[in-house]
Symmetry: C2
Subunit: 239 residues, 2 copies
């Protein structure tokens, strides 16, 4: 396969599409779209935002914000929140037609129309080369009841989340579940007839999701505490 060099580009795909909810000085609501964002620890969110956004000012003042996940159903509004600035149009939020209530956990609004909202307190602000790097301490996660699966856990396939691409600035829908982590990889090792970890795991099928949540998220200590022993080496933690 011929490979082509594209030079220096922001090329991670995809970026999530999140909405930051904050309060303005007068208690009215502002919402802005952010794509450069992610998890920084099990209870820490991270967003990179330009100095001059109204949102940045609001976060500094109230020390709190919410993060909602953009969906196919809310795409037009979610994009609109990324075009208009609350600094220019004081009625930005009102004009979206969406509704907000105060978070019970932090001094920031929960936008009712989004099915999943993360309620954060400002943990730390540092400066990144281009933007402010904001870390939020998660105080609670609020979801629409109908987003839960039969097992009582959040079922993200019900969200209809959209993601963003840094090359052509398009929105894409996240589709169906295609696999389970810490399960798919076993095919490789059995194909290649190797590794005792996979034989162990075969005997204990149910451990896979406990393994992966212990792994993807955890500190070494938590990993050891939370992970069933069958996945002791699954995260490479015991190695």
């Amino acid at each position: 396969m011929a490979k082509i060099s594209l030079g220096v580009k922001p090329a991670i795909f995809p970026s999530p599409v999140l909405l930051i909810g904050t309060y303005n000085d007068d208690g009215s609501v502002d919402v802005m779209t952010v794509a450069w964002a992610g998890m920084a620890a099990s209870d820490l969110t991270e967003v990179y935002i330009l100095e001059n956004h109204r949102t940045t000012e609001n976060i500094r003042k109230r020390k709190a914000f919410t993060l909602a996940i953009a969906t196919v159903e809310t795409m037009a509004q979610s994009d609109y929140f990324g075009i208009v600035s609350g600094a220019k149009d004081p009625q930005k939020f009102e004009k979206s037609g969406f509704h907000a209530v105060k978070s019970e956990y932090v001094d920031a609004p929960v936008i009712e129309e989004y099915p999943l909202t993360i309620e954060c307190e400002l943990e730390e602000e540092t400066s990144a080369p281009e933007e402010a790097r904001i870390l939020g301490k998660i105080k609670n996660v609020l979801v629409d009841e109908k987003m839960l699966g039969d097992n009582g856990k959040m079922d993200v396939s019900k969200l209809h989340a959209i993601v963003w691409d840094n090359f052509q600035a398009g929105y894409y829908a996240v589709g169906e579940k295609v696999g389970q982590s810490f399960v798919e990889g076993k095919k490789i090792s059995s194909l290649n007839k190797l590794a005792d970890w996979s034989e162990d795991a075969d005997k204990k099928e149910d451990t896979s999701s406990a393994c992966s949540s212990a792994c993807g998220a955890a500190t070494l200590e938590e990993e050891k505490k939370e992970a069933p022993s069958a996945c002791g080496s699954a995260c490479g933690a015991a190695n």
Copy 2:
């Protein structure tokens, strides 16, 4: 809609699924899966990785790594790279059946089977509460020729990227393009008959993608330099 509190959870959705490629001491290849990762600036990637991974050691020694994007076609191997540690199995990479060549830009391997690879030099390591925070300076982006669209730009819908969820540790395929940023939001403002920026933009349809790339990625200075004047306020930068 009744909302349910889930407590404190890593709830951003989705996380990307990336593969970090590094060289071991003996010049053999290691690859590991990472989901807590994203863009930190136009030319900076960021990954959060546990201290005890072989990959973390390799990055410190060679000051370089590559990041490839996991796809539906490479799901089994991409998961496998996240289960087995190179510290435990020196033949980890070989057993995947994948192939590597040396990057022309950095001291790290490019895995041939992945359609998009970001070649990075170690820019900075800082410590996060749970993991090491690694910033990579992008030196080049390498893509399979057939991933380019008719306009010569990377067409991410050809990638078949997969993403990961922090709640149930599943993999999900990213589907079709459903919209264009800085275009969808106009529906709201025209519905509500407002804002001169949207009337301006209507007259100059072609500016939308230039607007959005200037906005999502850029510093204020770059934004002003790169953005056509019709989208001066699109990023909230001019406000």
